[in-house]
């Protein structure tokens, strides 16, 4: 099950504030706690954090909400949606030095990756998105040795950006 969480609504539940801004570590920790509670209640393995109604996000709060949620493993797979350009930058700056990455789900474009992702993993993700297939097929299409494709896909799986099961590597159907 994939749950979609409106982060601005969680903020309103957590804090009596007229502002739709996610700032400070304390606020971030409150919001993350509530998100984790929802994930436990719904017993879901994947979550989309929807930032659509959030006007501002500072680095401390981005670390508390996004980076710590990714590190906690509370939801096996996490994506974010509704991020406007400036907020994307904050999330990227928080994830990058911690070697974390997250899938960004867009309304009008294909999902993309944000944070610390190697170029090979990024290309493998795009290729998987375009045509799916096994590691061997992906290697053939990208004209890579099989080991290179396998290594890129395994890195994506280790960062929980794709799923790896008996059928091979697949994208998480967030959208």
């Amino acid at each position: 099950m994939i749950v979609r969480i409106n982060v601005a609504r969680v903020l309103r539940e957590a804090l009596a504030t007229p502002y739709r801004i996610l700032v400070t570590r304390a606020t971030g920790a409150l919001v993350r706690d509530r998100i984790e509670l929802k994930l436990t209640q719904y017993n879901c393995h994947a979550a989309v954090l929807d930032f659509r109604e959030v006007d501002l996000l500072d680095l401390s709060c981005a670390d508390e909400v996004v980076a710590k949620l990714l590190r906690s493993g509370q939801a096996k797979f996490v994506a974010i949606a509704g991020l406007h350009e400036d907020l994307r930058e904050q999330v990227h700056e928080v994830l990058e030095p911690q070697h974390l990455a997250v899938t960004v789900v867009n309304d009008d474009a294909a999902p993309e990756l944000l944070g610390s992702v190697s170029e090979d993993s990024r290309l493998a993700f795009l290729e998987l998105q375009a045509a799916g297939g096994t590691g061997e097929e992906l290697a053939r299409r990208l004209d890579w040795p099989a080991e290179r494709a396998a290594s890129a896909l395994e890195a994506l799986a280790a960062q929980r950006l794709v799923r790896h099961d008996d059928d091979g590597f697949t994208l998480i159907p967030f959208a």
Partner: protein, 301 residues
């Protein structure tokens, strides 16, 4: 017995150092008589520093200092509309003709009057409250792109959080634009933050002092925090606040300076001739941070 400390006519960064030197050892042994009658011009940072002196003396259970307020009408009026006197009344015995409390609309050069910061909720209110005004000032007055506003709010938030996270006591913040004649000759937006807390050296001591050995002092603590992004917390996500502020300042050609204890460290853009690191200053409690964003014609240089 009280000790008279003159507050210089030009109460800017340099004037503030003269003021601190005038106080001498900290905490002061005698009651202070702070004489601001001759002040002709002051910056938001320097008047926040004045409040911090009063706050620190009160927290050290010292005798309430006397403060003779500026004689100059413009300065008095400026301190009034920045709400200096409202906060100073608790910390000083005020002498001189106090202007009537400023009740009118916020002056166009003021984005945020002097506001106490004690807890995370205060930071929320400060940042939320300036959003619209920041857009007007940064894009309208300074001619910066709209996206500069988001980074400005982030820099304000992270600056204020230093108080909540590290100072161990409350502090103050103010945001203003003014014409920066001395070095730049252009308009700037300034975030000024000051607290009377433990300062960078003591905040980082437990985790960093050993690494620096004999070199551990206020200057190295500032370098560790501001240049190396070190935090007293071992959490891997920590220490990013200053990194974020620096990235923002790099993009908009801004400046940051932080004074703590006996040192002052600045990341100096090309338009400024400040010294990156000054050590062996007279001690002043807590930390004083200043972020300066110049107008677009400077940012493009």
């Amino acid at each position: 017995m009280s000790r008279i400390v003159d507050i210089p006519a030009q109460f800017d960064d340099r004037g503030f150092e003269q003021f601190v030197a005038g106080i001498g050892a900290w905490p002061p042994e005698e009651r202070l008589f702070l004489d601001a009658r001759g002040v002709q011009w002051s910056t938001p940072s320097s008047i926040l520093g004045l409040l911090t002196a009063g706050q620190s003396i009160r927290e050290d259970k010292g005798e309430k200092p006397l403060l003779a307020i500026p004689a100059n009408d413009d300065v008095r009026s400026y301190w009034s509309r920045m709400r200096f006197f409202e906060h100073a009344a608790d910390l000083f015995e005020l002498h001189g003709k106090l202007p009537r409390p400023h009740r009118g609309a916020r002056h166009s050069d003021t984005l945020l009057e002097i506001t106490p910061v004690r807890a995370s909720e205060d930071v929320h209110d400060v940042v939320g409250g300036i959003q619209e005004g920041a857009q007007r000032i940064l894009t309208g007055e300074l001619g910066l792109e709209a996206k500069a506003t988001m980074g400005f709010a982030m820099a304000l938030s992270e600056s204020c959080q230093n108080i909540v996270e590290h100072a161990g006591t409350g502090g103050w913040v103010a945001v203003q634009t003014y014409h920066y004649r001395r070095r730049l000759g252009r308009r700037v937006a300034v975030i000024a933050v000051s607290d009377a807390g433990v300062g960078f050296r003591r905040s980082l001591e437990a985790t960093q002092a050993k690494r620096f050995g004999d070199r551990w002092r206020d200057g190295t603590a500032l370098e560790a925090a501001l240049v190396q992004g070190v935090s007293r917390f071992r959490d891997p996500g920590r220490g990013q606040g200053f990194a974020g502020i620096k990235r923002y300042l790099q993009r908009w050609n801004g400046k940051i300076s932080v004074r703590s204890g006996t040192a002052r460290l600045a990341i100096v853009p090309t338009w400024d001739d400040d010294v990156p690191l000054v050590e062996n200053l007279c001690f002043f409690p807590g930390s004083q941070l200043q972020v300066t964003i110049p107008s677009e014609d400077t940012a493009a240089e």
